[in-house]
Amino acid sequence: MAESPTPNIDRVTYWHTQIRRTAILLAVWFVAGFVLSIFLAEPLNGFRFGGIPFGFWMAQQGSIFVFVSLVFIYTITSNRLDREAGVEETEDTTSSAGEAH
């Protein structure tokens, strides 16, 4: 197996880090999608962003850009963490669907 011989972090740390990062990213998801775009939309419409009321812009454009960025950040950081913890897949350690069938 092409597993890295000495992982920098152990698996418990790996999982706790993953959970913590997921929670932080979901908090951003909630703030962008719900707090700024819905709950505070009315007051935020008083501010303009490139000519557009900010609450409205968040609800129809900004939040979607934030969502794409969150998934991108998650993927980059998770793939890096996999390597650090020595739990990334290689060709021969990949599990494949349908083995049970």
Binding site: E3, R11, Y14, W15, Q18, I19, T22, L25, L26, W29, G33, F34, S37, I38, F39, A41, E42, N45, G50, G51, I52, P53, G55, F56, A59, Q60, Q61, S63, I64, F65, F67, V68, L70, V71, F72, Y74, T75, S78, N79, D82, A85, G86, V87, E88, E89, T90, T93, T94, S95, S96, A97, G98, E99, A100, H101
Partner: protein
């Protein structure tokens, strides 16, 4: 060439491509049939997810709905993109690590129960059938609107309506590549369909943005359009376009957005797409590509909504309704097509009366004409609408087939069936699925009109909680999950029926039995079902015994991309 001729050209070209792909990607085993042999690259899978996701409704109706709802249309924009954050962070990589073929597969293994499998398979079937019937109808509608005069002689020779003929043609195409190629055929045609639909969507949007503001990027052009639009709306005595909660209360905007997100993450035809890639890493990248490809359409749609609305309101303030009916070509041609009722428009017609006479689907269908584009673009939009409808229908067909042939036949009725027999049953069940969906498209049952409430509400209330708990909480057990799923499903189903009985029975019962539940409407109610599912599952799990060791090992396993060794698993438990 005329619009009709161009439409025919585009439809023939794109359909030939789909059939070519079908023949090229035939499969011979169940792994190819259900998960495309797990050989799909992440970018291609991202496109396939995008095409699978964006249905006839997204393509044709979304911009129109947003245009007429203003700010409140954001529920669909955010709901149908934000769900991918939940999917990417909470489900996709873990379910890919688990492997297997279907969502009920995971439910059955994680909750060590065939009852759980059956409940999940039935939920998957109901959700997918409601959804697919709408797609088939969408195919028929596009055919009859764009190719009506062309197909009229054929249809009348056969003694059927053009819409029915369109549905049959659509069914035949989907059946061909889904039966032959299974998931592999469906995936590669979806890649082609994504390209067709996004090009068809962007060309008119870019052209109209350029014309209105000189900026070709629709997302940037709205900066100039919004102030004009708000001003015009106010001058005409309407609410500002950007003002929130004109149509829906804040509570409903919140609940609907959340239910569409959780429902997205729980929809079986979306989840299975993440089984088709080779690694967990590729599953994560698929989610990035998928959301990016979806976001392109979902950030352009609100721009189209605003451009069209500005055009329509400007025409109204310059010409009045009567002038619009007499002088504007697009008003006249869409009046003929039956999508604008301008017959009664007079000097006295108010702006609200004028808007009420316009079918929402016009917003996308008429954009090329509003922007003064050539006929070939109008024809391309029709091909894009068909691509959107067919790709979603075929993704759903795979779920229907796998629920019937794999979960119910292969795992419960006849677990000893040979590989060849399973594949045969799989193909047969797609055939049956296409037939039933086609019939439902031609003679739509009332509940199809409530597809958004049913599909997303039920997916959010049944699958989402038990999948998330199954991955993140080892203690969650069968005793909790099965009743949790049933309570979520039944509550949501009953509530939607009570609130929409008038639509579901097509007027046989004229008024809804209840209007709302704690102020939440039928589309948002799935959120209550989801919360009930969480409560029931957690409460019962805590008061019953811990799941067996092998299930806890399974949960440990799905959390890490690499397969853990037996020693490593023992370590984890200690």
């Amino acid at each position: 060439m005329s619009i009709i001729a161009w439409t025919a050209v585009w439809v023939v070209i794109t359909f030939s491509i789909y059939i070519g792909i079908a023949v090229w990607s035939r499969v011979a085993d169940t792994k190819g049939f259900y998960v495309a042999g797990q050989g799909i690259p992440a970018v291609a899978n991202g496109m396939a997810v995008g095409a699978d996701w964006m249905s006839a409704a997204s393509f044709i109706s979304l911009a129109g709905i947003v245009s007429f709802m203003g700010f409140d249309g954001s529920v669909y924009l955010m709901g149908w993109t934000g769900g991918y954050v939940l999917l990417a962070l909470l489900l996709a990589p873990y379910l890919r690590k688990f492997g297997e073929y279907t969502v009920p597969d995971f439910v059955a293994r994680r909750y060590y129960s065939n009852t759980a499998r059956v409940v999940a398979a039935i939920a998957a079937l109901f959700v997918s059938f409601t959804y697919v019937a709408g797609q088939m109808r969408g195919v028929g509608v596009v055919f009859s609107r764009f190719l009506g005069p062309f197909l009229d002689p054929v249809a009348s020779a056969l003694g059927v309506e053009v819409l029915s003929l369109g549905v049959v043609v659509g069914m035949a195409i989907v059946a061909m590549y889904a039966v032959l190629g299974g998931m592999k055929g469906v995936t590669w045609t979806q890649v082609a369909q994504y390209c067709v639909l996004i090009i068809a969507y962007l060309i008119p949007a870019v052209a109209i943005a350029m014309e209105l503001t000189g900026n070709p990027v629709p997302q940037g052009a709205i900066g100039d359009v919004v102030p004009q639009l708000d001003q015009l709306q106010t001058d005409l005595g309407l609410n500002a376009y950007t003002g929130p909660f004109a149509n829906l209360s804040m509570l409903n905007v919140f609940c609907i957005t959340l239910v569409l997100m959780a429902g997205t993450a729980g929809l079986p035809h979306v989840i299975v797409r993440f089984y088709t890639v080779r690694t967990v890493k590729a599953a994560r990248w698929s989610a990035v590509w998928a959301l990016l490809f979806i976001a392109i359409l979902y950030t352009v749609a609100p721009a189209i909504a605003m451009f069209s609305r500005l055009e329509i309101l400007t025409s109204f303030s310059e010409l009045g309704a009567q002038g619009m009916a007499q002088q504007l070509g697009w008003v006249q041609s869409w009046t003929q097509a039956g999508l604008i009722e301008s017959g009664g428009w007079t000097r006295e017609t108010s702006v609200t009366q004028m808007l009420a006479g316009i079918d929402r689907d016009i917003i996308v269908l008429a954009t090329p004409e509003l922007a003064g584009l050539s006929n070939w673009v109008v024809g391309l939009v029709a091909a894009g609408g068909l691509a959107a409808a067919l790709s979603t229908a075929s993704g759903l067909m795979i779920v229907i087939s796998s629920s019937l042939a794999h979960d119910i036949y292969g795992e419960i009725i006849n677990p000893d069936a040979s590989e060849q027999r399973r594949l045969r049953v799989g193909r047969l069940s797609i055939g049956v699925g296409v037939l039933v969906a086609g019939l439902a498209g031609i003679y739509p049952p009332g509940f199809v009109a409530e597809v958004v409430a049913f599909a997303f509400g039920l997916a959010a209330a049944s699958f989402f909680p038990i999948l998330v708990l199954g991955i993140f909480w080892k203690r969650c057990n069968r005793q909790g999950a099965v009743p949790g799923m049933i309570v979520g499903l039944v509550f949501t189903f009953v509530m939607i029926v009570l609130m929409r009985i008038d639509v579901i029975t097509e007027g046989a019962i004229a008024t809804p039995i209840i209007d709302s539940f704690l102020g939440i409407n039928a589309v948002g109610i799935g959120i209550v079902g989801m919360i009930l599912n969480f409560i029931v599952t957690i409460a019962i799990s805590l008061n019953t015994k811990t799941p067996p060791q092998e299930v806890q090992d399974l949960v440990e396993q799905v959390r890490y991309p690499r397969e853990l060794t037996a020693d490593e698993l023992k370590e984890a438990v200690a």
